[in-house]
C-alpha cells in the first residue's frame, strides 16, 4: 500500500521536526511548536454554559487527548475551534494566525479538519462518492471546467488520480468491499471509518477526532491507531476525544482534562492518572 494511503507524502518534507528543533533553540517561537492555541473560549446555549473559559495548546506532531465526563464541553470545543459554532469570547489560533470566527471551510482549507462525534455520512451518496468529495482543490469544482469540452479532460485526469488514492484508503480502512454501497446503509462502525477516511483524504496538517473509535472493532482500532502514530511521526498533529481511558493513556503523550467547560488539568498520562481532582471528577477512582 505504501504511501498513497498516507496522504502526507507531499507535505512531509516541510513539516517535520527540524522546524520544531529550530524553534526550541531560539526559545521563543511558540507558534511553530503549538499549531493550535485556544485562549479563554466561552460558549453558552441559553442558560447552559457549555465551554467556560477553556485555554490550552496542542503541540506540533503530538497525539493529544482531550478527555472529560459527558457534557464537559469537548464536542462544543471542537465546534468552536473548527468554526461550526462562533465563540461568545476567546480566541483560536492556528499556525500562528487568529482564526476565531472563520467559516468551517476556511479553517478546513488552512489544514485543520475534524470528524463528527455522531458520524455524518452523506447517506444518499455511495461510499466512493463520499470519499471522492473530500480531496481539496479539485479542478472540477469549478463549474465551467466540469462542463467545457476539452477542459473536462483535465478534470478527468485528476479524477483518475484521486480514484486510485481513494481505493487505497478504502483498502486500508477495510471498507473497500462496501465501496459501492450507499453510505446510509453502513453500520455504525463503518460510518465512523468512512468519516475518518474521508477526513484524511483532505490532506490536513491537523486532525480533530471526536470519539473516532466508538463502535470500531478492536483489531481495526489497533490498526488505525498504528496509522495515527505513523502520521504523527511524519508531522501530523492530532487532537483526540475519547472515553476509553486505556486507549488515551497508552497512546497520547499529552492529555487535557475538560470539566464543566474548563480545563481541569493537563499533563502526561502519568500526571493525569495520579491527579486527585481528575479521579474525583472523571475517573471515579478506577484507574
Amino acid at each position: 500500500m505504501s504511501d498513497a494511503a498516507d496522504p502526507p507524502v507531499d507535505d512531509v518534507a516541510t513539516k517535520p521536526d527540524e522546524d520544531a528543533l529550530g524553534a526550541f533553540a531560539s526559545g521563543v517561537e511558540t507558534t511553530v511548536d503549538f499549531p493550535l492555541q485556544v485562549e479563554g473560549l466561552h460558549k453558552s446555549f441559553g442558560g447552559i454554559t457549555a465551554v467556560d473559559g477553556a485555554s490550552f495548546e496542542v503541540e506540533a506532531g503530538s497525539l493529544t487527548g482531550l478527555i472529560g465526563p459527558n457534557g464537559a464541553g469537548k464536542s462544543t470545543t471542537f465546534n468552536l475551534i473548527t468554526g461550526v459554532l462562533k465563540p461568545d469570547a476567546g480566541t483560536v489560533t492556528f499556525n500562528g494566525e487568529d482564526i476565531t470566527g472563520e467559516e468551517p471551510h476556511e479553517i478546513a482549507n488552512r489544514g485543520m479538519v475534524r470528524t463528527f462525534q455522531i458520524a455524518r455520512e452523506l447517506s444518499d451518496m455511495t461510499v466512493l462518492e463520499n470519499m471522492m468529495l473530500a480531496p481539496k482543490h479539485q479542478r472540477g469544482e469549478e463549474l465551467w471546467r466540469s462542463v467545457m469540452p476539452g477542459v473536462r479532460d483535465d478534470v478527468r485526469e485528476q479524477e483518475e488520480e484521486l480514484l486510485e488514492r481513494v481505493w487505497e484508503v478504502l483498502d486500508f480502512f477495510d471498507i473497500a468491499h462496501i465501496a459501492e454501497e450507499y453510505a446510509g446503509n453502513l453500520s455504525g462502525g463503518q460510518r465512523k471509518l468512512l468519516e475518518m477516511a474521508r477526513a484524511l483524504l483532505t490532506d490536513p496538517d491537523m486532525l480533530l477526532l471526536d470519539e473516532p473509535f466508538a463502535g470500531v472493532n478492536p483489531t481495526l482500532e489497533k490498526k488505525l491507531l498504528k496509522h495515527v502514530h505513523e502520521l504523527r511521526e511524519q508531522g501530523y498533529t492530532f487532537l483526540l476525544v475519547e472515553h476509553d481511558m486505556d486507549l488515551i493513556m497508552n497512546n497520547c503523550e499529552h492529555v487535557i482534562v475538560l470539566h464543566q467547560g474548563k480545563v481541569l488539568t493537563e499533563g502526561t498520562p502519568d500526571d493525569i492518572r495520579s491527579n486527585e481532582e481528575v479521579i474525583e471528577a472523571y475517573l471515579g477512582g478506577n484507574v
Binding site: K136, E141, V147, L163, W167
Partner: protein
C-alpha cells in the same frame, strides 16, 4: 449496487427504452384520440406539434428544477418568476423600436433576438442571485418563502402601471402592464434560419410540404419544426446538466443536499456552490420561459401564476427528483397525461357521446346520488368538468405517487456524481490483502 425494483429494469433498453416507450405511447394515444375526434391530417399534425411543444417545455423546466432541488436541495417554488423575468427582459431588448402609430403601444431596444434571449437569461440569473444571497444563508425553508413571494412580486410588478411605459436611451419601452406585450419581432424560426442563411431552404421545404397539407402549410410546418427545436433544447439542457451533475462540482452539490455542514467541514465553500447552482438553474428557467412564450406572440403577466410552478414540481416528482433522465420522463408524462390529457379526454368523450346530457350544475349532479343512490349524473358531470378538475386530478396523482412511488417513476435512481466510473482502477490490485501487507512494514 442498490435494488433496482423499477420500471426501467423490466424494460428492454433500460432508461432510454423506457423514455422511447413512453414517448411512442403518448404519440400513439394522441393519434388515436385524433382519429376519434375526426381530425384530418392537418389536425393530427397540429395536435402532435402541440404535444411536442409541451413535452419540450416541461422537460426543460423540470430539468432546471432538478438542478435546484434534486441536486442541491434548494427548494425553489418561484420558478415562474424567473421565467417571467426572462421573457420580459428578452422582450424589452428585442422588440422593435417604438414608432408612433404602430401596432405596439411600447417598443423595445430593437436588438437581435439572440441578444434578447441572452439578456433574459442573464436577468433571470441575476434575480436568482438577489433572491439567493440573503435566503441561502438562512434555514432552507426561507428560500421557499422568498422565492414564491418573489414570483408574485414579479407578476404584480409587470401588472403595475408604473412599469407600463418608460424610457431607456431615448426609446419608449415598457412592460405593457395588465394588457401585456405583443412580441412583435421577427418570428424565432425565421430569425434562426436567416442567421444561418437557410431561410430560403426552409421556405422551399414549406412549399414542398404542400404535397401533404395542400393549403397554407406554413403554420403546420412551423409548429412541427418548433417542437423539434424544443426537443433539441431539451437535449442541450440534458447534456449540460448531466455534465454538471457528473463532476466534482455536482459532487459538492449532492453533498450540500445531503448535509451541508459536512461539505463545509471538508473545506467546500458551500454558499458559493449553492449560488452558482441556483443562478444556473434560474438562467435555464428564464430560457425555458422565453421558448414557451415566444411562439404565443404576446405575453401577459397573469400567465405567470404560481400554478405553473406547481406543474413543474409535479413533473419533477413524477420523474423522480435527483435524476436527469427522470426529469425528462416526468416532463413528458406530465405534458401528455396531466396537462394536455384532460382536454383531449373531454373532447373525445363529447365527440363520441354527443348527447350525454350531463347535468348543468353540481346540485343536479349530486342530488340523485343522495336521494336515489344513482351515481351516473355525478359521473357524467365529472367527465364534463374534467378540464376544470385538472388540478384535482393532479392532486390525486400526486397523492398516489407519494404512496406508491415516492422516488418517482424511475424509482430510486441517482446518477453517480463523478466524471469517471468509480470502480476500482484496473491497474490496482483487486483486494485489500496484498495491498495492506505492504503498509505493515
Amino acid at each position: 449496487m442498490s435494488v433496482r425494483d423499477d420500471l426501467a429494469a423490466r424494460m428492454p433498453g433500460g432508461d432510454a427504452g423506457l423514455i422511447v416507450f413512453v414517448l411512442v405511447s403518448a404519440y400513439l394515444l394522441y393519434i388515436l384520440a385524433g382519429i376519434g375526434l375526426g381530425y384530418d391530417l392537418r389536425g393530427q399534425l397540429n395536435s402532435i406539434a402541440t404535444l411536442t411543444f409541451y413535452i419540450g417545455v416541461f422537460a426543460m423546466l423540470s430539468l432546471a428544477l432538478n438542478l435546484h432541488w434534486g441536486y442541491t436541495g434548494l427548494f425553489n417554488i418561484g420558478i415562474v418568476g424567473f421565467m417571467a423575468v426572462g421573457v420580459y427582459v428578452m422582450a424589452l431588448v428585442s422588440k422593435p423600436v417604438f414608432v408612433p402609430g404602430g401596432a405596439a403601444q411600447v417598443g423595445g431596444l430593437g436588438l437581435p433576438l439572440w441578444v434578447g434571449i441572452l439578456a433574459g437569461m442573464l436577468a433571470a440569473a441575476l434575480l436568482g442571485l438577489v433572491v439567493a444571497l440573503p435566503a441561502l444563508r438562512l434555514r432552507a425553508d426561507y428560500l421557499a418563502i422568498v422565492t414564491i413571494a418573489m414570483s408574485e412580486i414579479v407578476r404584480f410588478s409587470f401588472l403595475s402601471g408604473e412599469l407600463q411605459q418608460f424610457s431607456v436611451l431615448g426609446n419608449t419601452v415598457g412592460f405593457g402592464g395588465g394588457s401585456g406585450l405583443i412580441l412583435d419581432f421577427v418570428p424565432p424560426l425565421q430569425a434562426l434560419f436567416q442567421s444561418v442563411g437557410l431561410w430560403g431552404v426552409y421556405l422551399g421545404f414549406v412549399d414542398a410540404f404542400q404535397v401533404i397539407v395542400p393549403t397554407n402549410p406554413k403554420p403546420v410546418v412551423d409548429g412541427i419544426v418548433y417542437g423539434l427545436l424544443l426537443l433539441g433544447f431539451v437535449s442541450a439542457f440534458y447534456w449540460l446538466l448531466k455534465r454538471t451533475g457528473e463532476s466534482p462540482f455536482g459532487r459538492v452539490l449532492k453533498a450540500i443536499r445531503e448535509d451541508e455542514d459536512v461539505a463545509n467541514a471538508l473545506g467546500k465553500d458551500t454558499d458559493k456552490f449553492k449560488i452558482k447552482s441556483f443562478m444556473l438553474g434560474c438562467a435555464l428557467m428564464g430560457l425555458a420561459g422565453i421558448l414557451w412564450l415566444i411562439p404565443q406572440g404576446a405575453v401577459t403577466p397573469n400567465f405567470f401564476r404560481p400554478r405553473v410552478t406547481f406543474f413543474i414540481w409535479i413533473a419533477l416528482i413524477i420523474g423522480g427528483a435527483g435524476s436527469n433522465t427522470g426529469s425528462v420522463l416526468g416532463g413528458a408524462v406530465f405534458a401528455a397525461v396531466l396537462y394536455q390529457g384532460p382536454r383531449y379526454f373531454q373532447n373525445l368523450v363529447s365527440a363520441v357521446f354527443p348527447n350525454l346530457g350531463s347535468p348543468a350544475g353540481f346540485g343536479q349532479a349530486i342530488g340523485p346520488l343522495i336521494s336515489q343512490l344513482d351515481p351516473v349524473p355525478l359521473l357524467l358531470y365529472t367527465v364534463d368538468s374534467i378540464r376544470q378538475l385538472q388540478l384535482v386530478v393532479m392532486g390525486l396523482v400526486l397523492i398516489w405517487l407519494m404512496h406508491n412511488r415516492p422516488d418517482g417513476l424511475l424509482g430510486h435512481r441517482k446518477e453517480t456524481a463523478s466524471v469517471i466510473s468509480l470502480s476500482r482502477p484496473k491497474t490496482m490490485a483487486t483486494d485489500g490483502g496484498s495491498v495492506e501487507g505492504g503498509d505493515d512494514e
